[in-house]
Assembly symmetry: C2
Homo-oligomer: 277 residues x 2
Amino acid sequence: MVFLFLETDLSSHAFDQAIALEMQSDGSFAGHTSVAYANMVGPFGGISAAQMMNAVLLHPDRLGEPVSLTINFAAALAHGPFQVQARAARTNRSTQHWIIEVMQGGEAVLTGTAFTALRRETWSLDEEAMPKVAPPQQVPHGEGPVPAEWVKRYDMRPIAGAMPQVWDGGGDSSLTQLWVRDNPPRALDFASLTALADVFFPRVFVRRATLVPVGTVTMTVYFHADSAQLRNSGSSYLLAQARAQAFRNGYFDHTAQLWNGAGVLLATTHQVVYYKS
Amino acid sequence: MVFLFLETDLSSHAFDQAIALEMQSDGSFAGHTSVAYANMVGPFGGISAAQMMNAVLLHPDRLGEPVSLTINFAAALAHGPFQVQARAARTNRSTQHWIIEVMQGGEAVLTGTAFTALRRETWSLDEEAMPKVAPPQQVPHGEGPVPAEWVKRYDMRPIAGAMPQVWDGGGDSSLTQLWVRDNPPRALDFASLTALADVFFPRVFVRRATLVPVGTVTMTVYFHADSAQLRNSGSSYLLAQARAQAFRNGYFDHTAQLWNGAGVLLATTHQVVYYKS
């Protein structure tokens, strides 16, 4: 008889508890917001995105693995239960298109689409190389001035573009680079990578060193890695990089990349964030 | 009495004919694929995206202007009529979230979401500056080896990363920069900018100098410009730039920007493209 001692008991990780969904008789899923991943107003957007991704991952009709996911934050979730409706709008021979809605009190609070596919090995190449940075062991933990609960669920080690310590309006670039992983460590999968894609502090904070009300309105994640590449990443740190392209009349975008420690580009992601000023 | 002589008669432009939709009694729109914007298989993806954007733009329930649009190409449209269903899933005080589906023969061929908002003037800044390139008048028209009809609807002047003239597998970068506008010229608006966001030849052609079967599966457009900034762009050339970040096991992404001649970043856009090899 062989006993397997796992480094982490997945079933007890706060992330797994947070994304847990229960299938209902009508094919929808019941979920619940997580105190562990609470943000200033409503939950951390990344955990909502991961819950929606999980509805597709758990769906009995699913074909293949996630290639892209778009989530729109239509309203702040109230703390409590919600319902996820994931519908395969189109199923082809090796690809599938999903429409996802999260409902609370009969109203849509999140909308989204996902694309899943059976992938096969082809000529491959990473054009966006991982920047050369100090290894995570040499980068101290970041201390954010924002006391949001979800921030404690991540081990973040900022290399460039950390949260400003002085709010003097003095920034000159929105670039952020950080090492990041779940806290405590957890083996990477599509759901956790989805949440990690939203781990960046708002670019307007970094660029302007000014605290203004903000909120992500839409986020897209492109999964370059398949499940085997995610498994190979284990629970090691990812290098995450984000940069805004434009701040314009209430909305800014960012474009971001996540590499594993071996330099494999696992995901690229983009979002639009509302800001007030 | 004043007579207005317009430079271009919009109503007769092939683009306006292509995106024309007729509202049906059930609130959906009837459209038709356009021979003028035909691609190798099915229509040019940009024109399908513009048709979906137009359903939101024409919808009587619309609040505000487009800020983001995600379109998923679930199946090739057959030449003929189609139906667009655009539904406001959530309407807030100054923002709105749309779910869009294009149906043909009772099946979903395109899915998507859009976000519209009432914008107001705030502190603004373009972080992604327009690259310094020769003006459009000094750049000759590009000659593509792909005889797709839609290519004739655009005046494209490649600066870098044009379609390879020799398919020898010898590329070393996927970066493309080109000046582009409608042909004949047409005043820029949200629908035409949506189509222009899909004007790039597949990155795998540029990076590998190898012709392989390809097809966009998902595209997202972030509109930084409002309608006034689009109007100010008139019918002048846009500088369009695209670059892949990763090619991996059948799918590659690209990230792209479109500036007007004055250097204002009008839109950023991303897509995932299937490739065979």
